[in-house]
């Protein structure tokens, strides 16, 4: 499996191209912006974009969808199909998708948006705006932040720490690196541990 990183200057967002070694049907994750460089990368690797995975609905991750649909007519997967103008297949939490021989597991981690998904492919986690290198996703309120942190703790930090992280913005990382050096995550987990300790049901 090949994974290519594409950086869009429009919204400083990352798009990922995942496909087989010898070309063929490929997956594009978060087409925030489609430019000539990305098209050349797709074509030079003899890929056809058969599937698009959207981590959430924000324009920095979806704005290139219209162009992409015109060129390749892929099947698009996302959490909230009604949010999009073009046809989108709904992804549900814990769904296992077989996309042209590539197995994708969908993990819903709401908080940044209610439709935020992380996609697990092989040893890689495509985290969108759920978890970045050194940061957690932005939220609009305290409850959303709590929901996001709970999701990260229960659904991502329980995975093998050798998983690689491909976020929607910023540098690539690994789960072990985030556990050790992501201060926002460390602080949140420490507060959560303290809350657990002070809870009467734990003490009795």
């Amino acid at each position: 499996m090949k994974v290519f990183f594409h950086f869009s200057l429009n919204e400083f967002s990352n798009t990922y191209l995942v496909g087989p070694e010898d070309g063929g049907d490929a997956i594009l994750i978060d087409p925030g912006h489609i430019d000539l460089e990305l098209i050349e990368r797709i074509e030079n690797n003899r890929f056809t974009i058969a599937h698009v995975l959207l981590t959430h609905r924000h324009p920095s991750h979806t704005a290139g969808l219209g162009t992409l649909v015109k060129i390749y007519d892929p099947i698009v997967y996302a959490g909230s199909p009604s949010m999009y103008e073009s046809p989108v297949k709904e992804v549900r939490d814990r769904a296992i998708l077989d996309l042209s021989g590539i197995t994708v597991e969908a993990i819903q981690v709401p908080g940044h948006t209610i439709d935020s998904f992380v996609y697990k492919i092989g040893n890689a986690l495509f985290t969108g705006d759920v978890l970045y290198a050194g940061r957690v996703g932005a939220t609009t309120g305290v409850l959303e932040k709590a929901l996001l942190l709970k999701g990260i703790k229960n659904r991502l930090l329980t995975l093998d720490e050798r998983f690689l992280i491909f976020p929607g913005h910023g540098t690539i990382s690994a789960l072990k690196i985030e556990k050790m050096f992501n201060r926002e995550l460390i602080d949140a987990m420490a507060i959560d541990d303290l809350a657990q300790l002070s809870h009467p049901s734990i003490m009795t």
Binding site: K2, G122, A133
Partner: protein
């Protein structure tokens, strides 16, 4: 991307080498395998998806190597020359670099997080989108480098030079810095808090 096939030896948490069942440490004739890997990496061809973790490399010339999506996690590099190399989306996490030279290289989208880097030079280097989170760097020189969108979060930097660097969108939050120079660099465009 490199494949993460577990080493066939029970209890070993390392990944197997490409086209092999075990990691380098559990391979028969591991010294020969290592020398053959080093020789193959040293040529000017493009190497992709190489897994070579937990290895000690000393006095090696990797100048002008071309590596893409490789895994060199937890390696020790002592006096290794990576100058003018092209290293894209490679993992060097939790490594030790001592007296290494990356001058003039293109190491974009790579991960060096958690590494200890001593007396190494990264001048005139393209380090855009590179993850340096949690590094412990001493006596290092990043001068004249492009560090656009690079991440130094939670790192410990002592006697490190960032003279005349592009620091746009670089992340230096939670860093511990002693005698660090950002002279002639656009540090206003980096994030420090």
């Amino acid at each position: 991307m490199f494949k993460c096939v577990p080493c066939a030896v029970e209890g070993c948490r390392r990944y197997a080498l490409e086209d092999m069942y075990t990691c380098l440490q559990h391979a028969e004739n591991s010294d020969e395998v290592l020398q053959s890997l080093i020789a193959s990496l040293s040529d000017s061809h493009r190497h992709r998806d190489v897994v070579m973790t937990d290895v000690r490399l000393k006095d090696i010339d990797f100048s002008n190597v071309h590596l893409t999506t490789c895994d060199f996690a937890r390696c020790v590099f002592e006096n290794v020359d990576f100058s003018q190399s092209k290293i894209q989306a490679c993992f060097f996490d939790f490594c030790l670099f001592e007296n290494c030279n990356f001058d003039g290289s293109d190491a974009r989208h790579s991960v060096v997080a958690g590494s200890k880097i001593m007396g190494s030079s990264f001048t005139d280097t393209l380090l855009i989108h590179t993850n340096f989170m949690g590094i412990d760097a001493r006596d290092c020189d990043f001068s004249s480098s492009d560090l656009y969108y690079s991440n130094f979060c939670s790192s410990h930097l002592v006697n490190v030079q960032f003279v005349d660097c592009n620091l746009k969108n670089a992340d230096f939050r939670y860093t511990d810095r002693q005698n660090v120079s950002f002279k002639y660099s656009n540090f206003e465009e980096a994030s420090f808090s």
